[in-house]
Amino acid sequence: MTKFSMKSVFVGAALVIGSLGVAQVSMASNAGGEHKMEHRNWSFNGMFGTYDVEAMQRGYQIYREVCSSCHALDHMSFRHLGDKGAPFYSSEYPNPNDNPVVKAFAKDWMVPDIDQDSGDVIERPGIPADKFPQIYPNSIAAAASNGGAVPPDLSVITKARTGGADYVYAILTGYHEAPHDFHLSEGMNYNVAFAGNQIAMAAPLSDGLVEYATRTVPGEHGGEPHVITPPEATVDQMASDIVQFLTWAGDPKMQARKNLGFATFLFLFIFSLLLFLTYKQVWKDVEH
């Protein structure tokens, strides 16, 4: 009895999980081709990692000013920006539909609608409950406007690519001059991180492309207002900011997930300890 104890269960489970992990890693390393993708130390990595709110906010600015000319956020509504854990959440506005920042962002977009009197198809400024509008009417139009390549939806992009956040960052910072012996097709761009090294998207970022605003935030409980000086808008900085925003967009419940996970583990540790003690108590007089 004793030799096949819990230890062997753990060993067995560890073996299985370990081998799965190896399979995952080896698959990930195949996907990127020759280029070695850098594993960056993101603030949201690990069991206790969180999103960087300031970076997410700057990321949204980049999405709005740069990405959104071609890429949609299929699964997102404006109100999501003001949810708990989202870039523009404010404890004053638990209902994101009331959040003035979110309202202002929504108003900044035109969304299609039907006029309630005439029935005509119209466009009106967005409200927080609206979805982010489609950029192109359909995928054929999207392909036609972009040299045959459909710009992918960005709301799940960090989930839909092997490597996730690291991959998106690598693509955004992977534009280089093509080597002399490399045959680059018409309208394509050289990118070290992209499979085959030819990507239809032109380098979207360049140093100083967006202007990060200096913001004044009112102090807590009427204290001194403090000034937030933004970082310099380098390509690396912008890539890192948009990745923060897009990772949140792909996994908006990460914070809730990790918090509940911690509580669950705490419970399970105590519960399994109690069960173990009960088990020992029950079996106390049994020779086994």
């Binding site: 096949f4 753990f10 399979a23 997930r257 669950t264 399970l268 079996w283 020779e287």
Partner: protein, 417 residues
């Protein structure tokens, strides 16, 4: 439920019910079922699997309240569940990860049965019902993986339904009949959803038979000898409910680790891309729990042969009780067979490893070239079948087994159990 009932109704109401429908008696007898007193933690997986099935059914019914089974909306509705439905992210993750945990547990449960000879007389039917449950689980897992309608869903469904197209003469008509069209499309998705909802209840019914069978013939145990006296047994409750309970709590920690901290680790990035019938992903892989069978399928260059071998790998499990000729159940007393069993276990992992890679890639580098995954999987496939069809029958005849203890109680006393 063999043996005599220990239930004695005390109150008039209890007596009244017991005369008309002895359901309380059934429950009490069930909980007092005499179990061998030497069951180890590997025997906890029956309870763990029951929990998995219940969890999948409950989360599944809830997800079906929010999911839309049409090609236009399936992908969107899953995203909506994860973003907008209260705790939808948790339930979706529990259901997706739960499928993997279910298979993890069922594989351990099966290997345990294999190791301790739990398929041997009089437990042949118990084992066969178990195999049927496993088959139904595979079908359910496959159908469920189609529902999110991502790229892997679509192309996985295309490849698997392509198996039926390989059947001579009727194959193509059969495939169209299954798909409800010329290719995987809306009719396919809707019927897959309907069947995915139905099959878990079929599994639950089969589990009922499985439990009935184990209560009829009694549980096997690590030393594989029959129960001789009452001394050899313990009441299921509280002894094994508490022991299983502890094992379940430990298992839940592994479950929770994936649900909360590694929700994507067992999935594939391509399935976050909406299904596209015009583009095949460069590297189609099934869920990890199908990888060994996928490797067997690809080990053969011929389409029909590959499919037959793959199904053959499951068929041998059904006839296993008659392949193993040994009189001794537990491999604890079969040292030679035990070694071959460990190699078999290793080969199953090798097959899984091969299934995750392209057949023509190099698996084991040697000199300039090396051994490709195709050849590694051929070796492992050969061993898989040789183990069941050659080693078990032959070893049963020739192996000199170790002496069996007189009884479970004596074995425990001598420190052999």
């Amino acid at each position: 439920m063999s043996g005599h009932s220990t239930y004695e109704p005390k109150y008039a109401a209890e007596k009244w019910i017991d005369k008309r429908l002895p359901i309380v008696r059934m429950g009490v007898d069930f909980m007092a079922f005499p179990s061998p007193r030497n069951l180890n933690y590997w025997y906890a997986f029956g309870g763990i699997l029951t929990l998995c099935l219940m969890s999948q059914i409950i989360t599944g019914i809830i997800l079906a309240m929010h999911y839309t089974p049409t090609v236009g909306e399936a992908f969107n509705s899953v995203q909506r569940i994860k973003r907008d439905v209260p705790f939808g992210w948790l339930l979706q993750s529990m259901h997706a990860v739960g499928a993997s945990m279910f298979f993890l547990a069922v594989y351990i449960h099966m290997f345990r049965g294999l190791f301790y000879g739990s398929y041997k007389a009089p437990r042949e039917l118990l084992w066969i019902i178990g195999c049927a449950i496993y088959l139904a689980m595979m079908a359910t897992g496959f159908l469920g993986y189609t529902l999110p309608w991502g790229q892997m869903s679509f192309w996985g469904a295309t490849v698997i339904t392509g198996f039926f197209g390989a059947i001579p003469v009727v194959g193509e008509s059969l495939q169209q009949w299954l798909l409800g069209g010329y290719s995987v499309g809306n009719p396919t998705l809707q019927r897959f959803f309907s069947l995915h909802y139905l099959l878990p209840f079929v599994i639950a019914a089969l589990v009922g038979l499985h439990v009935w069978a184990v209560h009829h013939v009694g549980q096997n145990n690590p030393i594989g000898i029959d129960i001789k006296t009452k001394e050899d047994t313990l009441s299921f409750h509280p002894y094994y409910t508490m022991k299983d309970g502890f094992a379940i709590a430990v298992f839940l920690m592994i479950f929770a680790l994936f649900v909360f901290y590694l929700p994507e680790a067992l999935g594939h990035a391509d399935n976050y891309q909406r299904a596209n019938p015009m583009v095949t992903p460069p590297h189609i892989v099934p869920e990890w729990y199908f990888l060994p069978f996928y490797a067997i399928l690809r080990a053969v260059p011929d389409k029909l042969m590959g499919i037959m071998l793959m199904f053959g790998a499951i068929v041998v499990l059904f006839i296993l009780p008659w392949l193993d000729t040994a009189k001794v159940r537990s491999m604890r007393f079969r040292p030679t067979t035990r070694r071959f069993f460990y190699i078999f276990l290793f080969m199953c992992f090798v097959l899984g490893w091969c299934g995750a890679h392209s057949p023509d890639d190099i698996a084991i580098p040697m000199g300039h070239g090396g051994m490709t995954f195709k050849w590694v999987s051929r070796v492992a496939t050969l061993y898989y079948f040789a183990f069941f069809l050659f080693l078990l029958p032959v070893l049963g005849w020739v192996e000199k087994t170790k002496a069996l203890p007189d009884s479970i109680t004596k074995a425990i006393h001598d420190g052999e159990a």
